[in-house]
Symmetry: C2
Subunit: 167 residues, 2 copies
């Protein structure tokens, strides 16, 4: 089963779906939650269209630095519902050159949002891998803890946005 090659994070976030989407797709907001603290996102490029670039640079207090990061490619954008991108391709679908660390294997990420009906959001992030070895590498790198911690930060930020006065 291909699904066996996936890693999945599923959470119910106590924030409205449109604000979770906003925190995901506005680069200046994405920067604030997409790295598990104390790591930080120092650079974001996000061109929200199929074929558009998705690139981040992550840095840490321990000197960790992804460098400019390998540019990935946005695959699907369904407003407020679904965002997919892959590291197997770069912008405009050119096959990517693999990098180091968490960029050393190709991965496709599919993020879906759904209303729970009580103002909360079902948040699902799935990482698709080519084979079991890549899946296991990704799991050992801390997919669950990393994406889990980021989901907490995402929820917190979306709640802050909800509390802000509408301008």
């Amino acid at each position: 089963m291909a699904e066996d090659l996936d890693l999945v994070l599923e959470r119910t976030l106590d924030a409205p779906r449109e604000l979770v989407w906003k925190a995901w797709t506005d680069p200046s907001l994405l920067k604030r939650w997409f790295a598990p603290k104390p790591y930080e996102i120092s650079e974001v490029e996000l061109d929200l269209r199929p074929g558009g670039i998705f690139r981040i640079r992550m840095v840490g207090p321990d000197g960790f630095d992804t460098g400019h990061g390998n540019p990935g490619c946005i695959l699907e954008v369904r407003d407020g519902e679904r965002l997919s991108w892959t590291s197997a391709l770069g912008p405009d679908y050119r096959p990517a050159i693999m990098g180091e660390g968490c960029e050393s294997f190709p991965m496709t990420a599919i993020v879906t949002l759904a209303d729970t009906g009580d103002g909360r959001t079902l948040y699902r992030a799935v990482a698709l891998h080519a084979n079991a070895a890549d899946r296991d590498t990704h799991a050992r790198m801390g997919f669950q803890e990393g994406w889990g911690k980021c989901a907490d930060q995402l929820e917190e930020l979306a709640c802050e946005l909800a509390a802000e006065p509408v301008r």
Copy 2:
């Protein structure tokens, strides 16, 4: 320049654009021209939507056989105008496992059709590679001759379709 990593075939085909598109996107028609004769396409899977499968099996009188072929992924479908797919991903965007021969490196193909204004079709097929080595491998495998011969066969088939009585 990223474009330096591309291989490009450009031809003006003496056939109407909608029939060239039809010959490209109807699996039973694709089968008739997509391999340079005497090679043949013995199997086609083509699910014409972003994320859909594109898989072919090519066989030759010399015993050449790609086997079932690595399933690639359709990226863009703009009716009558543009079709893109990649071998870097499989169906539903899962990163692909590379195969052998012409499937040993990741490639994205972008096919565009345009009216010339006199009933003919400007046909452009671009192969995008990750690096110069893959581009050169693909060139040595005979990209120009192979795609060129297939373009002749495509033109011939589209002309046959044009000559058929409308049913």
